[in-house]
Symmetry: C2
Subunit: 462 residues, 2 copies
């Protein structure tokens, strides 16, 4: 946990921003995998953590802005529960550590909410993403489950985004710990993957690196010889000479701050010439995008910078033709780069995504595009000091997409489909790192990890 | 998957047992950890898997018993989804592999359910354990979420238990694969744990053994120097010379059959004399319980056999006194052995626990006890050929429980509390293996793993 003052301060800022009414933060519940008591590892809701620091299930935090009262609802263990779980810090002590002075039994929460409803007080809550919270809020607030998201508080959403978007020094320190664990995971993958191993065998090494360093996975590991599919999770394919391995993985540290990196490396000890050519285009796109990072840059433009670099490189190989500014404007790059350049990162690997990308990545005046490609750009708005984000361009040869668009003659003024078809079994390459926006530019987070094709090959020599 | 005939046969048996009406199996959905798209690893519902073999989210299986119609509701990927996930087998092909001939879009399911409701057809469903399923069933069936469990079908529950309780040879073969992975996990823990390591570092080795062999964890790993707390998960304690490590972990294989074993070993290379004395009592209790395994044995009696062995051993050490049959009948053993001897195991590590222990572990005439200790015995009924179960006695010195009961003078006619206090920092020991009930006795599942204190010490010599 951070200091008590940190949490008190965060809640004070929040109360001031929300202005009046009741703010309700339901903590997350345990989720059964195949029956109620066989649970997934517990993950607390990030906003609950941000404002309370308390990392255990079945809690409910209520902040009465008008009365300036904060109550944590939850139950201590009975002795019979202690037999199963071991003793646990009392809730009163946990609450005290974050400056919350009132603790009440969980069963008291509903009556307080119902009472506030009767008194027509404003009740501020975030859109739920867990069905258990949907059920609880629906019952307590007497709102149909399908209408909860529409009734979520815009004031609260904006207030939280306005706080959590700006990482303090102590938060950046935690993120760097997570990024360092993340780099160790990638180093392990690059050093241990061998022809003949299954994807899941390498993924097991990546994941145990995270857990043996006291972390957890920040998101499901992508470790695949089919890197052209963007979120293709580790499977049973056997690594074969000549293939590429794309590993997109990351840890969250014990404070639940995330790291998120991608490296792509050859199953053989060296890249082929064709692989190295595409690799260097992705690297050049990443470096060009990184160079744009500073307060005031529209991240949408950083994205488009990377798109143009990708087309420039591919034009030099003959896959692309025509005017590249026109090609980017038309969206021709989306045959190769179908997604976004990056996203905010913090306590969530896609930070605050549960609150809504319209607040995190865009503004009232800059709305997200609905076009293929740009609609997957999670962050478009102007960068500010304190933002933490990923930069992760890639080139992906997706046979299904190539075939469909070639048949449709889509972007045929910009794409040499015959040349592209020669790459249909190429796979995909992505390079990803994490950055802090500083007062005048950016800072790479975590210890640097091999990134050039040559440095990757050095690690792959065996 | 098993053969198409296997799934067709299973559904035929089920339809016959249920007799009439509609059987509805909602498959499991993805669950977001900290936002909707950042998902836990997917775990299909076991009954859905048992009757369909289809291991992917967002499906719904409907069996109209009267019309003898089976429909799988679900949606194939769009090309845009393929960009993210890679191509997936079409649902029609998946369904065909388990002999289901009708596939319809997911959105069609609700109307068919509503129509059946209007026609007052019997709708058979299992009690939900995932909130997403609760929400869906509540909406479709127009039943308040809190009343769904009470409206679950007893006929369906009993019919499923009557099938899934008896493991076929092909199921036993899958379970043995899972148990072999499980044994490898334990061997890894015993061979790699060293003084100075954190619990989570050893757990990381255990878990990566499961995943590198193509499995997943069947349940959250218990790996702790505080084995006295029964389900105390891997934490950050540092292993110290003189302590015991209790590891209760298991894999499920790619077919989602589970293994579940426990070993307890010393952090030092050898047990202390005191540790070995208690270890041998637990081992003797396990062997005595195993010797009772055969068709016709009431498993509750196997449990009580182990309880008496534990008291017999502890009496020889002076911790227990008096008549031991009376002590077991009174429940005095529950100071040391607070839980049950074992449970059914199959596609769920506590097999079918979501359906209800009153059906899986007990009968209309043999009800589960409500007493401390026996109320945690998940399996009490008569054993039959084809059952697969765990045997897992233990001795746990729980300081909180010892202090409370000593203060209450509870069981003081049987317990020498002064002697027991000398063990208050001892920890806990459990030994667990998995068994198939055969036509006349039992068979240990999986390759044998070191179990005697001497064999464990041989593995610990470093």
């Amino acid at each position: 946990m951070f200091s008590r003052e940190t949490y008190i301060h965060r809640r004070q800022v929040l109360k001031k921003a929300v202005g009046s009414g009741l703010i309700i933060f339901p903590g997350n519940e345990e989720v059964g995998m195949n029956y109620r008591d066989n649970i997934y590892h517990f993950r607390q809701d990030s906003s609950f953590l941000y404002y309370s620091g308390i990392d255990r299930p079945s809690l409910f935090l209520l902040i009465d802005v008008d009365a300036d009262i904060e109550i944590l609802f939850g139950d201590d263990l009975t002795i019979e529960q202690t037999v199963w779980t071991g003793p646990q810090e009392s809730l009163a002590i946990s609450a005290e550590k974050s400056g919350i002075t009132a603790v009440q039994p969980f069963s008291f929460a509903e009556a307080i909410i119902k009472n506030a409803l009767q008194q027509k007080k404003a009740l501020h809550f975030l859109p739920p993403y867990r069905s258990a919270i949907t059920l609880k809020l629906s019952s307590w607030l007497e709102i149909n489950p399908s209408l909860l998201a529409a009734n979520a508080s815009v004031v609260l959403s904006k207030a939280i985004v306005a706080q959590r978007s700006y990482k303090t020094n102590e938060e950046v320190a935690e993120i760097e710990k997570a990024v360092d664990i993340t780099a160790a995971m990638h180093l392990k993958a690059i050093q241990t993957a061998r022809p003949g191993m299954a994807e899941y065998e390498v993924a097991a090494q990546v994941e145990s690196t995270a857990t043996s360093l006291g972390g957890h996975l920040a998101f499901p590991t992508i470790l695949t010889v089919n890197g052209q599919y963007l979120h293709n999770h580790a499977g049973a394919n056997i690594l074969q000479e000549g293939q590429l391995v794309l590993c997109d993985s990351g840890a969250e540290n014990c404070m639940h701050y995330a790291g998120d990196m991608t490296r792509t490396f050859p199953v053989s000890s060296t890249f082929t010439t064709q692989q190295k050519e595409i690799y260097n285009i992705v690297l050049q796109a990443e470096e060009a995008a990184i160079a744009t990072l500073k307060p005031g840059t529209l991240f949408k433009n950083s994205h488009l910078t990377a798109c143009k670099e990708i087309l420039t490189g591919l034009k030099s190989l003959g896959l692309v033709k025509g005017d590249l500014d026109e090609a980017v404007a038309a969206g021709a790059h989306t045959l190769f780069f179908q997604c976004g350049l990056g996203h905010m990162m913090g306590m969530d690997v896609h930070d605050m995504e549960n609150i809504g990308e319209e607040y995190i990545g865009y503004t009232d005046t800059l709305k997200k595009s609905t076009e293929f490609g740009l609609k997957s750009l999670r962050l478009g708005k102007e960068l500010e000091e304190g933002f933490v984000l990923t930069v992760e361009p890639g080139i992906y040869f997706i046979p299904e997409l190539i075939d469909q668009w070639q048949a449709e003659k889509k972007y045929s003024e910009f794409i040499n489909y015959d040349k592209v078809q020669a790459y249909r079994n190429f796979g995909g390459i992505r390079i990803e790192e994490d950055f802090l926006i500083t007062n005048d530019a950016y800072r790479l987070l975590g210890k640097p990890l091999a990134k050039t094709a040559e440095d990757i090959e050095t690690l792959r020599s065996y």
